[in-house]
């Protein structure tokens, strides 16, 4: 089943501001990272997925349902955590999440039970009976996540869940999101402007820029094919480069480093053999995992 599918999705605000343009993407269930700079169209996409906005052109499907035609059916199965503050300060977390569970259609007692469960899962225990106004930012983010989870959705839409958190808080939130995606069996769409953050927990990555799709793929496909070996020798760099080229290895240069794409285990042997034959002092040989960020950086450069 496709989790989210869009086809030439376009949203123009007031006839002039184009927030999304011709976006076609299909993602499978799992943890999906939606990355893009501020103003790239992430929040607009989320509102379209919830049926809060109507697309100007194109089509959109969530869990096989059309949010434009039947928003209630989509919203019943989706949990949404907004980016901004959305918690009334004088209610306790338990009351708020219970009330919102009832708004999602849970019977009264079930709503109360599931609210405490959801709050427990996000790590709020006795403090859930205190007014939200006195909570730290980290606790508020957890309450926001709990209210999205209370009605047991099939898909969570998280808009910048790590916003305003310190590094430890970010790690905890990301670990929580990962747990929801893997242990709870709920698909998650995580929005962020920080690629380094979401790439750690995602199965799939969707990058948008200026309302256009930059790239959408499984994270494994993005990183595996791009590993390189970095070789550094104290002297004889030119000789080694020539020798490796003679062995049919595509050699790149980066300062004093020679970069060789890692095709398979044999690449190591070939390089070590060449170094030994030339009797060069090997300074280092290590595998470099290309981070997704570099992929986008390279792509953006080629655009310019």
């Amino acid at each position: 089943m496709t989790l989210i599918a869009t086809e030439s999705l376009t949203k123009v605000y007031g006839g002039e501001v184009t927030a999304l343009s011709d976006l076609t993407v299909a993602v499978e269930p799992g943890i999906v990272g939606l990355v893009g700079a501020n103003g790239a169209g992430k929040s607009t996409l989320i509102k379209l997925l919830l049926g809060l906005l109507t697309p100007t052109r194109g089509r959109i499907q969530v869990l096989g349902l059309d949010p434009t035609a039947d928003p209630a059916a989509v919203r019943a199965r989706v949990g949404y955590m907004p980016e901004h503050d959305c918690l009334p300060p004088d209610l306790s977390a338990a009351e708020l999440v219970t009330h919102l569970g009832r708004i999602s259609g849970l019977p009264r007692t079930v709503a109360r039970e599931r609210a405490s469960e959801a709050l427990r899962h996000v790590g709020l225990h006795e403090e859930r009976h205190r007014p939200v106004g006195g909570y730290s930012t980290g606790m508020k983010q957890r309450v926001k996540l709990a209210q999205a989870l209370v009605h047991d959705p099939d898909l969570l839409l998280l808009d910048e869940p790590t916003n305003g958190l310190d590094p430890a808080g970010r790690d905890a939130m990301l670990a929580l999101v990962q747990r929801i995606g893997t242990e709870f069996g709920i698909s998650v769409l995580v929005c962020s402007h920080l690629l380094g953050e979401v790439e750690r927990i995602c199965d799939t990555l969707v990058a948008i820029e200026g309302g256009r799709l930059l790239r959408a793929d499984h994270i494994a496909a993005m990183t595996s094919a791009t590993d390189v070996l970095a070789v550094e020798v104290s002297e004889g760099t030119e000789e080694l480069a020539a020798r490796l080229a003679a062995l049919n290895l595509p050699v790149g240069r980066e300062g004093r480093l020679l970069l060789v794409p890692l095709a398979d285990q044999r690449t190591y042997d070939l390089i070590l053999g060449a170094v030994a034959e030339l009797d060069l002092p090997l300074h280092r040989l290590d595998q470099r995992r290309h981070r997704v960020a570099e992929l986008f950086a390279r792509r953006e450069n080629s655009h310019v």
Partner: protein, 294 residues
């Protein structure tokens, strides 16, 4: 072998397969939540002070009226007159309850959490409106019920109790009219701003600042303007409808010229009240249509 007691097992995340209730139940949940909010229930002690102060005052007035009637036998005010006499308190109750119901939610940004759930857009403002109407009706109706019980227990015979009931029903209807008009206007004003103080001030302003207009119109040399002057302000509009529909119950002072003279325009007052409520509800729905898309 006995089971160990007091052990908490982490059973992990549980999927929910039970029933999901429909629109009617969700509306009911929002409505009940709204009525409780209006009286400060489920909130801090501070939020309870004002609503219950007002409730206390109206109940005390009702108790006093009942006591005077049973001791001296003099009818200080009829059931219908009760709402008129309490109009200031009703206005202040609306000025506190309406911002509590809608301005708070606007300010805290909680609305996206409602509108991202399977709730039709119009249900949120309508549930709040119905809740405020109910709160106002309870505020005006409960004291009348107290007066009725006092009157019924001191009355001689079933016939007198029946007469008493026939007096009470129009009084409750009139209280309902007050509730509907004041709730619609008050909620619309409150929904315009997230600042509770502004909303409260705006509500008092709408109800009280329009009074001078009535005063000016009522001294103009045109008789039609005098007779229509009450339409300019919600409290006098409601009174006008009351006087048109149940003059005998509202004006007990039989002296000539007591109470405002509507001339032939009674039905105009009724139409104006209907139009005012309809207009406020339409604007309220339009307002939330805009808010939901943000």
């Amino acid at each position: 072998m006995s089971e160990p007691t007091g052990v908490i097992h982490d059973i992990g995340y549980q999927r929910y397969t039970g029933p999901r209730l429909g629109r009617r139940h969700v509306f009911g949940a929002m409505y009940i939540h709204g009525v409780r909010t209006a009286f400060g229930l489920g909130r801090s002690a501070k939020a309870k002070i004002f609503p219950w102060l007002v409730v206390g005052i109206v109940l005390m007035v009702a108790a006093a009226v009942t006591a005077i009637r049973s001791q001296i036998g003099e009818v200080v005010m009829t059931y219908a007159q009760f709402a008129d006499a309490m109009s200031w308190l009703v206005i202040f109750f609306v000025a506190v309850a309406a911002p509590e119901l809608v301005s708070r939610d606007l300010r805290s940004g909680v609305l996206p959490l409602y509108f991202s759930r399977p709730v039709p857009q119009a249900d949120y403002p309508l549930a709040k409106l119905l809740a405020l109407i109910t709160a106002l009706f309870l505020l005006l109706g409960a004291p009348q019920l107290l007066m009725f019980l006092g009157g019924a227990f001191t009355a001689d015979g079933m016939g007198a109790v029946w007469d008493e009931l026939l007096d009470l029903l129009p009084g409750l209807l009139y209280a309902g009219l007050w509730a509907v008009v004041f709730a619609s206007v008050g909620l619309l004003v409150a929904s315009m701003t997230g600042k509770r103080a502004f909303a409260a001030g705006g509500i008092v302003a709408v109800f009280l600042m329009t009074t001078p207009i009535v005063g000016i119109l009522s001294v103009l040399p045109s008789q039609a303007a005098n007779q229509l002057s009450g339409i300019a302000s919600p409290p006098t509009l409601v009174q006008g409808v009351g006087i048109w529909a149940m003059r005998d119950l509202l004006i007990t002072d039989l002296a000539e010229g007591a109470g405002p003279d509507l001339g032939p325009y009674g039905p105009v007052y009724a139409l104006a009240a209907v139009a005012l409520v309809a207009g406020c509800v339409a604007l309220l729905l339009a307002r939330y249509k805009k808010v939901a898309a943000r």
